[in-house]
Symmetry: C2
Subunit: 218 residues, 2 copies
């Protein structure tokens, strides 16, 4: 298809498509004539992925590039590619550094210490989860633990196993959804898209459920 059709079907403007191609987020089209470049379904899928990463996942263009690079250099199995892509995706929440310090120079919410990292290890052990040492979510969970402690909510962490169980049942569905298509490429893409969109859905569901639980108790 021509770039105009690609733009229409993806809902992405032509200048934005060209920008993504220049940045290496979307592969170039195939030049068929001097004045004509052709795009296929793979371009359309990639464009949707890029939009999901940038807008829903709120990744920087630089991080999105790293994620995309995994797709362009796939592993031998869908699960391995998915894992590599998930690591590249990183946090899931944009910033861990303190913000709003432009008007001052304070300390901010402290980052995770060794105690929090040990707590993460213990949790993984207790649940029998095999997780590589470089999974970026380890540091993120440790950081959440550290923040909870610093904010005087260390007692909430006594309940963390119940959150872990809920997360595991979510992850089982996640992997099922990602593996449902036939091809490796598609599985990795679906894993990425659903990870960022799913974060949104789960956050919203949690808030709706909080109200439902509260109403029951009134």
């Amino acid at each position: 298809m021509r770039i105009g059709e690609l733009g229409e079907r993806s809902g992405v403007s032509i200048p934005t498509i060209k920008y993504y191609v220049r940045e290496g987020l979307v592969p170039s089209g195939l030049r068929t004539k001097a004045n004509q470049v052709d795009y296929g379904e793979a371009h359309l899928r990639r464009l949707r992925l890029v939009r999901a990463l940038l807008e829903v996942g709120e990744l920087s263009v630089a991080t999105a590039k790293q994620v995309i690079a995994v797709l362009d250099d796939p592993e031998e199995s869908a699960l391995r590619s998915m894992g590599k892509a998930a690591y590249a995706l990183g946090g899931g929440f944009p910033a861990t550094a303190p913000r709003g310090e432009d008007h001052a120079g304070g300390a901010g919410v402290p980052n995770a210490g060794t105690a929090s990292a040990t707590r993460v290890d213990d949790l993984l052990d207790r649940h029998g989860w095999t997780v590589g040492p470089n999974n970026p979510a380890r540091a993120q969970l440790a950081s959440a633990f550290g923040v909870a402690e610093a904010l005087g909510m260390g007692d909430a962490l006594d309940q963390i196993d119940r959150y872990a169980e809920a997360a595991y049942s979510v992850a089982e569905v996640d992997i099922e959804i990602a593996l449902s298509p036939a091809t490796l490429d598609e599985s990795t893409e679906r894993m990425l898209v659903w990870t960022v969109v799913g974060d949104r859905a789960i956050t919203a569901l949690r808030r709706l459920a909080q109200e439902a639980v509260a109403v029951k108790r009134m």
Copy 2:
């Protein structure tokens, strides 16, 4: 305590504390002498809450003000105050508007339509969740549904009930944690802090669990 001690105990710099007081996020201290202002435990707790909202929750100062306003005008029950605060907290994910359009003028990921809103209503009905019409998470969930459809992942939404069940068990723990202290004020504060910190923890746990599930399947 003097502002210096407040700064030390909260890890927030004195200029930042003064900024929060000017913005109305933290109440003024009590002027005890011409040159001395006194702060109490309530100030310390409020400071921690503000940091959690701004840094972990990534709220704007304007939104944080609205949330704080609920604390300064409590309802007759902890659950009602918690609900009001949760509504003020809003989304849980910063932006729903398309980003990165400064270099172009494209459409971006479409927002939720009527179909998505109906899907949310149906989900609440199926699970018997009583949720007010103005809960901002309704629109957020509908938006996630719309994005999933637009990105060719509408099939993932067939599994949404399993996510809802996980979210409900998370919310039950959330409410328990919030209600554990004795006072209404503290419950509302804990609800707010744990909602934003819990989002982080759950996101990280989901990613760790995804790896654990994938490893099991390899």
